[in-house]
């Protein structure tokens, strides 16, 4: 179990580095996709609530450390997203890509709306239409495109992690 958690931790590290360097260089119209959200949500519905929360905590924590204004805000946000996606673990079917796409897309939309509400609306920026069309929707679309590339990788990664876990436990039994 610990081995798996450590591996998951480094997956988050890798994704955070990719997100803040490579994906930022691939910005389209000042908007980049949200890889951290993709891994948090997908570990949520592939692995269940706890896996989702685990990923969420670390994704959020790193974001808080480097880019947060109020420490703990992103941690809570990502944890909740991971947790919420965990509810769909029961009906998850791994060969169908439409369902994960829908879930991640909805998560991204929720993320955008929450960001707008807490960080902009509460500071008196009322032009929701602008932010919706220029930030939330492009990020949403870009993220959906990215899922097509990353979903298979994440799924295979998760299977590998599970296998590693089961081998580890067999060793312990022996």
């Amino acid at each position: 179990m610990i081995k798996k958690r450590v591996c998951m931790f480094f997956v988050v590290v890798l994704c955070f580095i990719l997100q803040s360097t490579v994906l930022k260089a691939l910005e389209l119209g000042a908007v980049s996709p949200n890889l951290l959200l993709i891994i948090t949500a997908s570990f949520g519905f592939i692995g269940g609530r706890k896996e989702g929360m685990f990923m969420g905590v670390f994704c959020g924590l790193f974001t808080d450390v480097f880019y947060g204004q109020l420490f703990g805000y992103y941690t809570l946000l990502y944890t909740l997203i991971g947790y919420a996606n965990g509810f769909f673990h029961a009906i998850f079917y791994d060969l169908d890509i439409k369902q994960p796409m829908l879930l991640i897309a909805l998560s991204d939309l929720a993320y955008g709306l929450i960001q707008y509400f807490f960080q902009f609306l509460l500071r008196g920026k009322f032009d929701f239409g602008f932010y919706f069309i220029n930030i939330i929707i492009p990020e949403f679309l870009y993220t959906v495109v990215l899922i097509l590339f990353f979903y298979r990788i994440i799924l295979r990664l998760y299977e590998k992690l599970e296998k590693m876990d089961s081998i580890g436990s067999v060793d312990e039994l022996v």
């Binding site: 000042a30 980049s32 929360m53 420490f71 965990g86 902009f120 032009d127």
Partner: protein
């Protein structure tokens, strides 16, 4: 067995626990300015070296790709530039003349402090905010290099932002185009104070917003330079922010607001300079000392009257100076236009 043990804690309790911790952290960071403490240092060691490496590789690749494209562009630009050079030489000679005049004035009034006098540290931008809502970035210098929170960050042509968080060998910089950034500024030519604030909405046009500008004589024109003002608490005065692009009268008919174009190209920001000197705040202790000095001088009965008189005469002179500077500046601008 192990699995069963783990599952014995229902996930909703874990969630509640995490949520409680997060909320208390948020409160802590709001009230006590908590910035992550040990997590901060640890993650600095984890990310900064890799981010640095990736960026160097990225820059190398993009440089290669740009080289070919650049060659074609450069050919076209050369002709245009030659024309500009001719124009600029004429302008330059005019400006030089004015520069001598300015230098004279400065030495006269001991105002020869410009931003070449600040001690600076160069740093590279190694990563950008992971979301799309804010414009902050991290640089590869931190408290080891003497960087502290609230230090000003500039790039070759102007003000970039301010340091908001510091790790051992990294620092977070909030750009002036960030939606939460507010800078107290002034129009260089007229010395009218105003506020420059980042605006996500205007960023799509490449602008930031300017507001609360009192310009009753309509002197501020398109292209006027906007610099940080003397009254700013954290920013050194006279750092170039940008150029006025558009101004409208506010509904209150007293102040104006509009857009300015920032002087720095935030899209392609690679290296920045951090001004190591912080803007000096007036310490309450210092103030009392000054007050004591004044009291002491007043006690020195006969001379006090003279010194006060001298001060009185000095003040109008300074005013005159600022007006003179105001007169010089517009003429410089008209020189630019021709």
């Amino acid at each position: 067995m192990r699995r069963k043990k783990r599952d014995s804690i229902p996930s909703k309790y874990i969630l509640t626990g995490i949520a409680a911790v997060c909320v208390s952290l948020m409160l802590a960071s709001y009230i006590f300015d908590f910035q992550g403490g040990p997590i901060n240092t640890l993650s600095g060691y984890l990310f900064v070296p890799v981010q640095k490496g990736i960026n160097y590789v990225g820059w190398y690749l993009s440089d290669r790709a740009d080289n070919l494209q650049d060659l074609r562009e450069v050919m076209a630009q050369r002709d245009a530039l030659q024309e500009q050079v001719d124009q600029l030489t004429i302008e330059n000679s005019q400006l030089m003349q004015e520069k001598y005049e300015l230098e004279e004035l400065r030495t006269l009034y001991q105002l020869d402090r410009s931003y070449s006098d600040y001690s600076k540290v160069a740093a590279n931008v190694i990563s950008k905010d992971s979301g799309n809502w804010f414009h902050s970035f991290t640089i590869d210098k931190g408290s080891k290099d003497g960087i502290e929170v609230d230090m000003n960050v500039i790039s070759g042509s102007g003000l970039v932002g301010i340091v908001t968080k510091v790790g051992a060998d990294w620092a977070q910089v909030r750009a002036i185009i960030d939606d939460t950034s507010n800078v107290s500024a002034m129009i260089l030519s007229t010395a009218d104070n105003c506020m420059v604030s980042g605006n996500l909405q205007l960023m799509s046009e490449g602008c930031i917003s300017i507001s609360q500008l009192k310009d009753s004589d309509n002197q501020v024109e398109f292209g006027a330079k906007v610099v940080t003002s003397q009254v700013s608490e954290k920013y050194h005065s006279g750092l170039l922010i940008g150029y006025v692009q558009e101004l409208q009268m506010d509904a209150n008919n007293l102040t104006k607001s509009g857009k300015i174009t920032p002087a720095v190209d935030f899209e392609h920001l690679r290296s920045v300079l951090v001004i190591i000197d912080k803007k000096r705040q007036v310490d309450p202790n210092e103030e009392t000392e000054e007050a004591k000095d004044e009291e002491a001088s007043e006690e020195g009965s006969e001379e006090s009257g003279n010194s006060e008189a001298a001060e009185d005469t000095q003040i109008p002179e300074e005013h005159g100076d600022s007006e003179n500077a105001g007169d010089v500046q517009p003429s410089e601008e008209t020189g630019d236009e021709t």
